[in-house]
Symmetry: C2
Subunit: 383 residues, 2 copies
């Protein structure tokens, strides 16, 4: 396989973009990434998106955005892997360059979720679960995650309030990120009084439905040398799945697909958990943060909360997490979030992360989780 | 790039499968392809599908089908490129093997369109057009193709009834295909009296909405040698796009994306139109057949109808087309059709096409057209 580098990044602010259509958000991020790379028209565009058909009545999304961005005639497709679609688009772009089929491509994540009433978005999001055996019975994604959180609390005897540490951390890091949706602090008191959504998940455990787009330019080693004096190398890239339904897993809390995806990426990158300088994790719900730290091997099962409470996940900690706000505070436009994670990891590796810059940052990990941890994309990036 | 081979094919009959869910159709075809290859669990599954979100409330389709097929934990994603999704899934699988990331993968196309009333499927199909500037005004895909057909008839002064040759041909070829939806003959008289849908497109100009799934196993040269004594090689693979909307094209009838995709595939395969022994074309409407023959360079602009009328597209003709019924008579489960085309091309190259076997068939071309010829996938296969 050829080596693959990232030489350009672009993003729109995350928020409620009622005045801007899908094509405009997507092409703004894609063109910004191309401009950042000082590159010309890419040879291919891989669009990560989950809900354009259900919420915007628009498929053929690759063509739509290639057309609107002015990338005339190029290869363009949409990649769907539920909430991990953005990460999956980066992986598809990686494979296209690694194969030698293309030398310079764009991976884009884009989603528009706020134009319609929230119950329609909630129903659409449930299509990431098993439509026939889970969603058909009325269970939402929040309710499914609540089952996991309840089991976690009972299994390990932890305090529900201790999950607040992930939320406080994410909001702290979002404050100086101009693209983040929520730039205000959250306190332990705020968390304790946050209204319940699906017990034990409260509003502040949950990332917000949002609109946004993020893009990266991937290229071959040769193109990277000519385009950039500090290209970021993709050291590892992997995608793994689990059963789609929660009911068919032997051990719901072990998150086998996260474990497998991480192990594949670690092996390819020839690093281990101790070598990771920062983690952009899929903190869609605080329980997912805890389970991710464990299944990835950063801590043992049941030890994520003490690890976070001891300050390890802050910018000065041993494993800075959600360094520009994460899904929780930057916002979670589902099919775009995986691409935002890669953009943010590149910002850190380049030393462009502003007030939340991680010092001596050399190896970053970004992980996109789709469904109820049923599809996982992991990337490890390095200088 | 590594060489890539096809060593297994599988398909379900095309029809109205009201009793069988998406996961069952998809995994039947995928497992049949694996069994045909005498292979074990694949390393990745690329699922071509357009409408599972809109019509089945199911995204995360890669995970769903990998899970149900028993492909535990593997990489699995959905690829969407409108009606060309099946072809795009084969290309994604091709890139994954060509890159060296995987040695044995499955490309699957699956679609389920007949459970809901036809107007819902029609509306969903319009999401392949420009949702904001075309579909929002109520235009359907049939109406968009009718605009092309009307322009073609006026520009070249041809008779509408001469398009019947494509329909008669496709239905002739479907008669002996056990997986085809329509296995009855159609006469010139049937065509002349066929009810109008969107003038000048009549019912018999149109391929049917349908359910179905088709799959191919792709692998590296090394695996192909150990698995099969007659692997089929992918000689060329390409994907190209045009503007998504018809209104922004300088010359609607020239189908620039078909031309570009064909030229890329011809160049990679080191062949030209004269070397192609059979063409599985995207005959969703008879006008698309005519435009495909021209834009691919088999005939000059305006000459497709005489070419077809002279018997060239029959099994004994100079360019046998739609040899197992095509989209018209085998049926058109949109996101699956591109995969059916590849399966059928392999049947021909292996000499397993039954009564419509093309003699001395060495090089086959399959082309999947999405949207209004806005996204095109071309594959050239050889022995």
């Amino acid at each position: 396989m050829r080596e693959v580098y990232i030489v350009g990044i672009g993003q729109t602010p995350v928020g409620e973009h009622w005045d801007r259509p899908l094509r405009e958000l997507g092409s703004e991020a894609a063109c910004a990434a191309i401009a950042d790379a000082k590159a010309e028209c890419p040879q291919a565009l891989f669009v990560g998106n989950m809900l354009s058909g259900s919420l915007c009545s628009q498929e053929n999304l690759g063509t739509l955005i290639a057309d609107f961005a002015g990338f005339k005639g190029i290869e363009a497709v949409k990649i769907e892997a539920a909430c991990a679609s953005g990460g999956a688009a980066v992986r598809a772009a990686y494979l296209a360059v690694a194969s030698g089929a293309h030398d310079l491509v764009v991976a884009l994540g884009v989603e528009k979720m706020t134009d319609l009433p929230i119950d329609i978005a909630t129903t659409a999001l449930a299509s990431a679960a098993d439509a026939d055996y889970e969603a058909a019975h009325g269970i939402t994604f929040t309710a499914l995650n609540a089952l996991m959180m309840r089991l976690y609390i009972e299994r390990y005897g932890v305090r529900k309030d201790d999950f607040a540490t992930f939320i406080v951390n994410a909001h702290n890091h979002a404050k100086s990120n101009p693209n983040a949706m929520f730039r205000q602090s959250v306190t332990l008191e705020d968390y304790a009084s946050s209204p319940m959504v699906a017990e034990p998940i409260c509003i502040l455990d949950s990332s917000p439905v949002a609109d946004g787009a993020a893009a990266v330019v991937l290229c071959s080693a040769e193109r990277a040398r000519s385009l950039s004096d500090r290209p970021i190398r993709i050291l590892g890239s992997s995608l793994a799945t689990d059963t789609i339904g929660l009911g068919t897993r032997r051990e719901p809390l072990s998150c086998e697909a996260i474990r497998r995806s991480a192990q594949l990426a670690f092996k390819q990158a020839r690093v281990g958990p101790k070598d990771i300088d920062l983690l952009e994790m899929h903190d869609a719900f605080s329980i997912v943060s805890a389970l991710s730290l464990e299944a990835n091997g950063f801590v043992e099962a049941g030890h994520a909360l003490p690890f976070a409470l001891e300050g390890n996940i802050g910018i000065e900690g041993s494993l800075p997490c959600s360094t520009l706000g994460g899904l929780k505070a930057r916002g979670h436009p589902v099919g775009a979030s995986g691409a935002y994670q890669i953009v943010e990891a590149v910002q850190q590796l380049r030393g462009q992360a502003g007030k939340t810059q991680v010092k001596d940052c050399r190896v970053a990990m970004a992980q996109s989780v789709g469904g109820l941890a049923s599809v996982i994309v992991t990337h490890i990036l390095g200088n």
